[in-house]
Symmetry: D2
Subunit: 312 residues, 4 copies
């Protein structure tokens, strides 16, 4: 039996020992500690790790952390959304995203060409630079091949980026596939459409990419899943895992609750009814903002794995 | 200036007069009444109406209501997810979805082949029947054409369904396009993949469909948007509207909050910074479960529109 | 087994038949229908009904509905907070509460003497009139008695109000006690303090009122509980019910979730571990804004009870 | 202008540098960093600090941290609920609270005499020991005085506890008043009632305690407020601050949102319309589970204050 333990601050406290203590505090602190342990087990067990996240997280400074996590070998399959791809690329050129307020004057922002995402903004110029770059890159890739599954397109793009904090760059370097089943849902969709107008035989093949994600792991692999937020990225990863026999380890981090039957609020328990997560899996669902909960849980796992020499 | 008004029940109260009264109660009741008025204005102004919803809503009994809403001319463009397509088709064969509990024993459900979505379940048999039907239909459609934009595929399927409560059927009948930018994200993705294995020249063209949604309305049209829940369906519809000049009317109904910067929690205000919704638009964001809030707001609008002879 | 049923609008639909249909829709709609049935059973079973609500609901137009619900015999014990008492009284003088926006400019409101509660405001003048009235009333009551349990004070005040839409008035008329364990938490606390300064032997006896709520029902009574929102009002009512043997029927309506271990998010299941709600009780927890969910569930119950001649 | 900064883990990272980095990540991470800075300013500016929390937080391991925070001089006025008092006392005798699951079987727990609070439980025995202790202490205190404002009762009790991790003990030692405007709302209410049955002249004077909290600080003091969760404790503290001229600094940490107009979801902006928080105050609202967000923000402030020699 585990008991609640009075928490006390000690001067110079590390994140690692803080997360250790969370396990005795209660409520979501306990779930976060459990999540951290499960992430650690994913790695020590040699599981293939699926990591899904949404575009707002790449708008945020988690982007550099995702890149680092990939570089450290903590993610083997990435599933995300179109916006995440766009913003990772923009940041690779050095585009800066401002910090504003959740209560910002949206009409004033609009007039200044600033597009709000919570308390952050992306400027119109960043989209314009992205358009120029993307158009050029598509021309180059088209000369190579006319028919592209999304993940192969992502890899080619990643190789062009040369930014250590870029998700696409680190994934390409480490041969981690990035799946984006809703690739047309964003500015990138518009650019692909414009390109196809000029080159009608240019095809983005999402069905072919389904094959790629299906065979990204096998039934024999033990598998882990870290789902950050909801959306098509969470569902696509968990569905791919199901087709591959289900996950042995799963951590869901979200702000959504189960009450509306949504995918973003679906718990690891609900996933067991589908066989997405195995009946006897190690699983935890943490309710909270991923901008705080994910780095906490992941850092603590990284510290332990580094200590054991499993990552360096 | 509007004031809070003491609410009183009157025997035999209609939904219409109930929603009328909500406008004087407070908090989300006020927002719901505003949403209902905006929906009414969308129609009386002759706007093109975009309606987006997620798959869990089609798991629910809202499915028949969506079909009715389309049939009544209250939606001109539909954006949804793969699961919604699958479940609309399953129900068209008469598949039944059980009502269970949010606290159901998920391991027992798994053993019985019942897959939980909140307090509802979909049985494995329903997926198996869907597979058989889908495979046959794809063969038929392939003989017609080898290269399919998603919305054109949806229309062909809709014409085969013959169920008044089917979203795809009503949309096909009324020539309302259904967009599904993440079509491979679900069982349907697997069936498309299997089909492509047999017929490598079979292509689902999502880029082409981007063109279709872009030209579904023009800058000259006044446009309205009803977003139910979040996900790729909400973003894709609002992004298409942006490319077409932005919405004059918008109603967002969701359980998500703005605090995490997610798309599902993004408010109509945030959308103004992007120009997705016009600065001087009529817009409302309602926080609550769509299974309750959407029919309330829509019924009240329908009653008023029927009274004016705008719908029948 | 119950199944999901396609929902269809029928012209002129009543709230009663709408709530009936909610039972086949899914997610919170199902829970709301269950809540409505449980409320109906509370009354048909002759249970003593505890009703708790928070002050923001009395700021809203639910205030008149609470008064009506009491008048119809649907509440036998009321538990609420100081703000609810204050605002019920202010409205009895005809004070009006404006409807504004959740995004109102709070500094401008402050300068105009308008105090915001979500999308509603209460003006400083309303507080000033309340002060004058309260001071006078306390003088009158002091001549009668120097030592007051809160619920007895509430009854005396209620008898002075003569407003059919007043909670205190209807409760006094129907001899329904109003408990307010945190009576000093608000403007009324300040007025009581000022009065005690002048009359040091004036005592508000909260301990005595604990006896009153404990003996408000007996172990032999069957008991039902309708908890709207969280706060001390929910806890006090459920704790009183526990001391009296636990509830046979319970409906919790709240926007809070279980994830933080808070009282406002505590479910009817959690209450069973305490014996607050009996193991074999009829219970439902509905997540949603009470300004919409409570009138829906209650109206449907009232319609059915009126049809059976149980209320009139 | 502040920009989003790519976050990177560095081996051995301290909580202090982690919170520093949160300020560049986005969403609630940014708000948490702001909160931490405001807490630091409260102390460096010599403000009187009001701290409010709810009973579930004392069920959790935050209890020891609250005691430490008081001991370090980071709280000058405490406002809380009856349950918090009870559980602080139980833990002072060494009672242990088990860690279970949010999905625990509540009927089984009930049969074992275990009362669930989220993923924690309190055993019936702990309540029984509390009853014995409380009864004895009340006899002792009654011999001293018959008429007790709550905060004076709390101080006497605190002096008896001798547990460094006890909130009441540390508060008594540091002469920090603990206000509990809803003192009868819990087991302690029952014990006070039983005691009053035996000693009818025993009075708990909540009105007198209103005076105590009103004069706990003056208009001349600069004041800060840390509100954890909602409930009567948050409202009472903020209302007392209003009567004393309003707060210069405020940090709200909660899981509740503004959408229902509740006190728990009320933002620091809303508080400005009331003058509870000054127009030009430093204020932040953080949405998230306090079991994680509060220690993070507070530890970071403590580290900085210790470095400057302001606390030791």
């Amino acid at each position: 039996m585990k008991y609640v333990k009075d928490f006390n601050w000690k001067k110079g406290m590390s994140v690692k020992s803080f997360v250790e203590e969370l396990g005795g505090i209660g409520f979501q602190a306990i779930e976060l500690k459990a999540a951290s342990e499960i992430i650690e087990k994913m790695k020590t067990s040699g599981s293939k790790i699926y990591l899904s996240f949404t575009s707002n997280m790449v708008t945020s400074g988690l982007r550099g952390f995702f890149a680092q996590v990939i570089n450290l070998g903590m993610a083997d399959i990435i599933v995300t959304t179109a916006g995440a791809i766009e913003e990772d690329i923009m940041k690779s050129f050095g585009e800066k995203f401002d910090i504003v307020s959740f209560n910002a004057d949206d009409i004033a922002l609009h007039q200044r060409g600033e597009n709000r995402v919570g308390n952050l903004v992306i400027r119109n110029e960043s989209y314009m630079k992205f358009e120029d770059w993307m158009t050029e890159v598509l021309e180059k890739l088209y000369t190579k091949q006319k028919h592209w599954p999304v993940s192969e397109l992502m890899k080619e793009i990643g190789l062009l980026l040369k930014d250590e904090n870029s998700i696409l760059f680190q994934a390409a370097k480490k041969d981690v596939p990035i799946f984006c089943p809703g690739i047309t849902d964003g500015a990138v969709g518009f650019h692909l459409f414009m390109f196809q107008q000029k080159h009608p035989d240019f095809i983005v093949d999402v069905v072919k990419d389904f094959k790629n994600i299906m065979f990204a792991t096998s039934h024999d692999d033990t598998k882990g899943f870290i789902a950050l937020g909801g959306s098509i990225s969470k569902h696509h990863a968990v569905f791919a895992g199901l087709l591959s026999g289900g996950f042995e380890y799963a951590v869901y981090m979200t702000t959504a609750h189960r009450s509306s039957g949504s995918m973003s609020g679906a718990s690891t328990n609900e996933a067991k009814s589908w066989g997405k997560i195995k009946d006897d899996s190690d699983a935890a669902t943490i309710i909270g903002d991923v901008s705080i909960t994910f780095p906490l849980a992941m850092i603590s796992a990284l510290e332990n794995l580094a200590e054991k020499g499993i990552i360096k």
